[in-house]
Symmetry: C2
Subunit: 217 residues, 2 copies
């Protein structure tokens, strides 16, 4: 697939490197290409010459799948910068969490309970097929789940479009995921976004981000 990844942080880089390694054609989309290239991104880029860098609009226009790996409050601006026309008809794999650090750590959620960030994105860009997934894991485990208990843990997909969920599920399986649970429509993203407060407390308690939940049944 041709994949555009929005977000130059650890999640964006992990997804870009892994999907490129798996043979996809990957371009990272950023607000300002020159600024990104001039920053500490350069060292990572030098090690990953196979990953392109372009504006969000240029990255999106040719993509089959757009990965939203921006911060929660950066998500709608990034997708808006890409342009609804460039995103039209495409799968948006939304990995972001609507974390609000306004009151320090642990953050609260800026959207929750009766809405979710994934639903906001779907409403704002109705011509896209939003699939929420991977937001419940640390970046390293998103893309290499077999590092932990040989992959014996769970990941979720939420979305209104069955074919888009199928394609995302296939991508997750190619990463090494063994238990992908389809929760249902995009409103089920509330559940996985609201898992974050527990995740953050476990992170503090276990003193590592290398954990995940398994749905035992």
């Amino acid at each position: 697939m041709r994949i555009a990844v929005f977000g130059t942080g650890s999640v964006g880089r992990a997804i870009a490197a892994r999907t490129a390694e798996l043979g996809h054609q990957v371009t990272i989309g950023t607000r300002d290409v020159a600024t990104t290239r001039a920053g500490e991104y350069a060292a990572w880029a030098a090690q990953h010459p196979e990953v392109g860098l372009a504006t969000q609009a240029d990255a999106a226009v040719d993509a089959d799948l757009v990965v939203n790996a921006t911060s929660g409050d950066g998500s709608l601006p990034a997708l808006t910068a890409a342009g609804a026309a460039n995103l039209s008809g495409k799968i948006v794999l939304d990995i972001s969490n609507p974390l609000d650090f306004g009151a320090g750590f642990p953050p609260t959620l800026s959207v929750h309970n009766t809405d979710s960030l994934a639903e906001r994105i779907q409403r704002e860009f109705p011509q896209t097929k939003v699939v929420k997934s991977l937001n419940t894991l640390t970046a390293e485990l998103m893309v290499r789940p077999r590092q932990l208990a040989d992959g014996a843990h769970s990941v979720f997909v939420s979305g209104d479009d069955a074919e888009a969920k199928r394609i995302v599920t296939e991508l997750l399986v190619s990463f090494g995921h063994t238990d992908v649970i389809d929760l249902g429509d995009i409103s089920t993203a509330r559940g996985v976004e609201m898992l974050l407060p527990l995740w953050l407390r476990l992170y503090g308690r276990l003193d590592t981000a290398m954990f995940n939940i398994k749905v035992v049944r």
Copy 2:
């Protein structure tokens, strides 16, 4: 221990029967003893003659540990009916979930994100030692976790009082729990209460309540 259980529903009954079976002295506390006795509770009570029935105040006054197994919106009324003086110094094991069915199924949460029901109880009854636990499981698995994967799944405790958490943890282990994770102070109850939206979707998806999450690390 002398245990008072508030709540005559499936959770209260499961906790009462199991703790009595384990040798504790158990009394269920209810608003109106005569009404409860006259209802369908009678059939269950006939099978569990070892479990007492009393008003919430009478059940609480002699108890070492009070289990709040009422519905979310019944919690503060039940504890208020018991009386702050009767609860003073006692452990309150809070199992309830602040579910709001106002908009149908799945319910939303009436408290969330910057507060939790457990914190409300702790604030309202500062002389008690509130421990949040077990709210992330179906009743049958709360008290007999070995039924599922021989107990290879997780349960959480949240609370400000270390000794109260130790006593609750011991009780959970006596039920058969093998992985009790102490998340920290009572504010960490937000995380386990906010797990409910995901739990409810999994319940719908898996078509059974006999599942639980395991924290794989």
